[in-house]
């Protein structure tokens, strides 16, 4: 369960929760007998017996090829096929050794592939559950005008955690449903920044949609980082 600090049209804010709604698969892969299978992550090899290490160990590729035929140095019988459970991510250098101190450089490319800029990587802090509530910007857009302008790449359902937040969210959903519109939400101190859901994560433009059925509501937070724009060059066709 994750929290979002959300404000309403009266600038009142409350911490409520949001969750993704996964699509349920109607097909499951099983054996011919109908028996279920279990999927596991297995180790295929390590940095000690992969091709990079072996190329360094042997003088030339012909020697390595002979060794592979005769002695199987690329196979570690003790480790090959081992089930992996807990693992961590590390940086390694070209000698495939763990690196403890790194420097990062970010290259910015234009759509045609040309390099535009080089800079220190930007790191965005999450801004959905901080002291500055996610802002009800007042920019209300009819659903009919928005759905074909931007691609909603993620959707989250917003839910209440107690009676007070039920009223808070129900009223939001009701207002949006009556107007058949979505409200643009924004974050940050000034309340005009894209929403960032995780530290170091990507920024998204956010639009809140509300639906109401009697005393029940459905608030969907739609996120977008992509517009419907042409990528087909008519002149080349």
């Amino acid at each position: 369960m994750r929290y979002i600090n959300l404000s309403n049209n009266k600038d009142r804010d409350a911490k409520v929760v949001f969750k993704s709604i996964p699509s349920i698969s109607s097909v499951r892969m099983v054996m011919e007998t109908g028996a279920f299978v279990e999927n596991r992550r297995l180790l295929k090899g390590t940095s000690k017996n992969n091709i990079v290490s072996l190329m360094k160990e042997f003088k030339d590729s012909a020697q390595l090829a002979n060794a592979i035929i005769e002695n199987d140095p690329e196979v570690d019988l003790e480790l090959e096929g081992k089930t992996l459970n807990v693992s961590d991510r590390v940086y390694i250098n070209q000698d495939e050794e763990v690196v403890y101190k790194v420097r990062k450089n970010e290259k910015v490319y234009l759509p045609d592939g040309s390099l535009k800029d080089e800079r220190e990587p930007r790191y965005l802090d999450a801004n959905i559950a901080i002291e500055h509530a996610v802002n009800w910007t007042g920019k209300i857009i009819p659903r009919e005008k928005l759905y074909n302008k931007v691609v909603f790449v993620k959707n989250y359902q917003i839910c209440h955690v107690n009676g007070l937040t039920y009223d808070f969210l129900f009223n939001m959903a009701k207002e949006l449903a009556q107007k058949d519109s979505m409200m643009m939400l924004a974050g940050g101190e000034k309340g005009d920044e894209p929403l960032v859901f995780n530290d170091g994560g990507k920024p998204y433009r956010a639009f809140l949609e509300g639906r109401v059925k009697k005393l029940q509501y459905c608030l969907i937070l739609h996120l977008s980082d992509l517009e419907f724009k042409t990528i087909i060059d008519e002149k080349k066709i």
Binding site: P22, V90, L226, F228, K229, T230
Partner: protein
Amino acid sequence: MARTASLLLNKQTFKVGFKKLDRKKIYGWTKTEVFDDQDQLCTLATIADGQYILPSGSIAMASFNDKGEYVSKRSLVGVNEQGEKVDKAPSIFDEPVSLKAVDLDEYLTLNVKSVYQLSIDEGKEIIIELLEKGKIFHFMFNYRSDYEADDAYLISNEGEVFAVVGKKATFNYIGLDNKEEETADEPEIIDEDDFDFSML
């Protein structure tokens, strides 16, 4: 020549090509390079059991039966919720698919996987005219033959036609009694292999 699919609407067939739309093609992208103190380029790897360094390509996924024996992926078959075998749905490039008008509520519950811009040789203006009136058309989409097809929706903007592909989700209406029980925060895990296209 690019492969084309046949979309059927009102007894008319439209031949369309699909070109994938992503941020990279519209806004560009960023790539983060990592260097050690010798200015050597570094890459991400996995470390298992605190001792085995696993460069990219060192891990495989495999299936096992209840006796712990390896089972080839090719030998698996798809079954539905009732446990009945299902046939593979054909690729959209192999058989025509029918378009069906749906409402906006349905489209807005889609968990999007990919977006394509459509190239339409003949009859583009007919489809555009319908879509610009606010109609949304649903069809089943499989790029390759597979047991389960995705949901796809035709959308138009600025005189172009797009197919948004994904899987419908069921968003439930919630009442006063359906409150979420509060538990500890679980931040999502970020895969650092992802290029961040959005930081331009």
